[in-house]
Amino acid sequence: MPQTRAPDAIYLDHAATTPVRAEVLDAMLPFLGARFGNPSSTHRWGREARVALDEARERVAATLGAHTDEICFTSGGTEADNLAVLGTWRARRAARPAIVTSPVEHKAVLETVHQAAREGGEERCCRITGEGQVDVASVDALADERTALVSVMWVNNEIGTIQDVPRIAAIAKERGAVMHTDAVQAFGKIEVDVGRVPVDVLTISGHKIGAPKGIGAIFIRRGVTIEPLFHGGTQDRGRRPGTENVAAAVGLARAAELAVAQRERESARLRVLRDELEAAILGAVPDAVVHGRGAPRAAHILSLSVPGVDGETMLMALDLQGVACSAGSACQSGSVTPSHVLAAMGVRPDLASSSVRMSLGSLTTPECVRRVAALFPALVRKARGAPVGAA
């Protein structure tokens, strides 16, 4: 008996995952049914699937400003980041053993860089400002002719800060390093166009933009060599062997098209709502700290800490009121561990452990924001020790 969810529950965790869009599900269904063929087969079922897959690839490429052959489907953002970092580094390691990255990357990048280091690579971590921005001068100082790749995320998943990827990519290019950016939280939120920004490798994830979990894509610029992580057939030019997830690829294509087409309007809408929520909370809880407030931020993320109130307690109290948010990084057990992002920004541990992330998206309405703006300060008062029963 799953717990019944209140009909007026509020989902403010779009940076964790999003519901599959109806248009996306519709686009996928034929490939979970009659059009079930294996794209590598020569018969009609195979051809049908192959055409759908190639079209999906072409459509994803178009949303990024890429050539069709520059797109490779993966099982999601984590696999794409692994392939980007390890695949690039392994192909170039002989002459260029170093990787330049930032301490606020997603674990899918950080842990993969650690793996490269265990295989003999040299890890170089750039500096982060107190507002959560990569210090471009520090990247400039670290990237050299021994650098295989520079990997810096475009939008931070915990606090929403936008990194200066165009400038960082220009530095990487000048040093002959491959530029990778994890654009999982950027795609569909800010402009991501590989025709305009000289990134070489870029990763996106389906379930952050209304496609299902289990699909992602990597853009690999023509001329960039990547060693595959998997070994097997020749699917995807050998870059990613394994029978393709046709239905999910078609879903990703549809979701990417919708996200890009609606990006400007949706971002503007979310920015108004996010700023309203932020202002309301700061008005009622004046000592709350909004992380990354002084930096350019994507519109959908609000990360804040309330001194003296641990984030875990707030999440529990919010959830019991029907409001879903997140705090720090969730670990396997579902408990909250201190955020490496806030630590890298120099946020005090006690303040870091009181952080709550609200991320807005398709399910967020002005009514949601008004209700959370009223509820949040009341829960803060309670968590700060107002007597039980008092509001």
Binding site: V309, L320, S333
Partner: protein
């Protein structure tokens, strides 16, 4: 749906706390389940019957089955400070701590109660085999399972907010209820016996991890007899506890026991059973769960989990210290263990054993 008062249930993923939650749901409470993450799920630690990742998942599944919310609360740093650090420090002092007592006192019935406050939960509940009767803590009805000995340290004010639904059941009844409720995930789970954060029941590993393998408590030292003669060598006094028979030198006319530990000389003192008997006991960190008693009060005491209660008289109460005279000698009163005061089934209070007195102390001279 009109719900009753909210209760936060500490759920380990075991059968007792699962049934506790289920019973509270049946009784109409607005039940919220929480599993406390108390230490790191290190790859080096094998899967434990308690506190493991699987246990968290089991608790979550039970809550899903019951239709109630479930949260994982990361209480690692406070637990490490209040429970694990003290555990190690006590062994380093030659004493035998009970971390479960401190976990109840600090982690469950102080820190978790604060979480309950924040979510408007008027009550907290656990799967302990003990009962709260009219605001007083009582033994669990199943004498084989009674866990009241571990609960003396809780704040008296918490008692009125405490629900212990399985305290009125036997273990067999609890398992039967679990099966009847369809909680097959936990109904036949093996019971956790060890201390949750101690791998393989080897507490020396935890001490070594915190203090280093060369810590004095784990270094070689002499076995002494009561008269001071050296009769052998041991490999760390922290591996011994008062009353222990295993791992001692042989060749004595009568069975020998650990009768004392002297950390300053790293000596483990052994002696015959007669040397193990105490006729008085001093405890500290005293807490009352009733109106405090004074000198002259007659009580029953337990110096160990599952020990037979012994009749005693309070000699003096001085701040957080208490001294009692025992009517009959009691064996193996180990410093660091709990002294719990009972009146029949009712828990009066308790403290941490400081020392045993070999002779019956005389009553204090009343002030003139």
């Amino acid at each position: 749906m009109n719900r009753g008062p909210r209760v936060l249930v500490a759920m380990s993923g075991g059968v007792d706390s699962s049934v506790a939650a289920a019973l509270l749901v049946e009784q109409g409470y607005d039940v919220v389940g929480a599993t406390m993450k108390l230490f790191c799920h290190d790859a080096a630690l094998p899967d434990r019957p308690c506190c493991s990742l699987d246990s968290v998942n089991d608790a979550r599944r039970v809550c899903d089955h019951l239709g109630i919310p479930h949260y994982v609360l990361n209480m690692e740093s406070a637990f490490g400070r209040d429970v694990v650090d003290d555990f190690v420090a006590e062994y380093a002092r030659g004493r035998t701590p009970i971390p479960c007592v401190r976990c109840n006192t600090f982690t469950k019935f102080r820190d978790l109660v604060r979480k309950a406050d924040a979510i408007d939960a008027a009550f907290v509940a656990t799967g302990h085999y003990a009962r709260v009767v009219e605001g007083m803590l009582h033994r669990g009805l199943d004498p084989a399972k009674d866990q009241s000995y571990f609960l003396w340290g809780i704040d008296r004010a918490v008692l009125s907010r405490l629900l212990l639904p399985v305290g009125a059941l036997t273990k067999a009844e609890t398992r039967a209820r679990a099966r009847a409720l369809g909680l097959r995930v936990v109904a036949d789970k093996v019971e956790s016996q060890d201390i949750c954060f101690v791998p393989d029941g080897d507490h020396a590993k935890v001490i070594a991890a915190r203090l280093g393998a060369d810590a004095p408590a784990l270094a070689r030292g002499p076995f002494l007899t009561v008269d001071g003669s050296v009769v052998g060598e041991h490999h760390g006094f922290a591996r011994y506890t008062v009353g222990q028979r295993k791992g001692l030198p042989g060749g004595f006319a009568e069975p020998m026991y650990v009768v004392g530990i002297r950390p300053e000389s790293r000596a483990v003192v052994i002696g015959p059973r007669s040397e193990l008997l105490g006729r008085g006991v001093v405890a500290r960190e005293l807490r009352w769960l009733v109106e405090p008693l004074g000198a002259g009060a007659r009580v029953e005491v337990q110096v160990r989990h599952r020990a037979t209660p012994a009749a005693a008289e309070v000699l003096r109460v001085d701040g957080d210290a208490i001294e009692l005279a025992l009517d009959e000698p009691v064996a193996a009163i180990a410093p660091g263990q709990s002294l719990v005061l009972y009146d029949g089934d009712r828990v009066l209070g308790g403290g941490v054993i400081e020392q045993s007195r070999p002779a019956r102390p005389s009553l204090p001279v009343l002030a003139a």
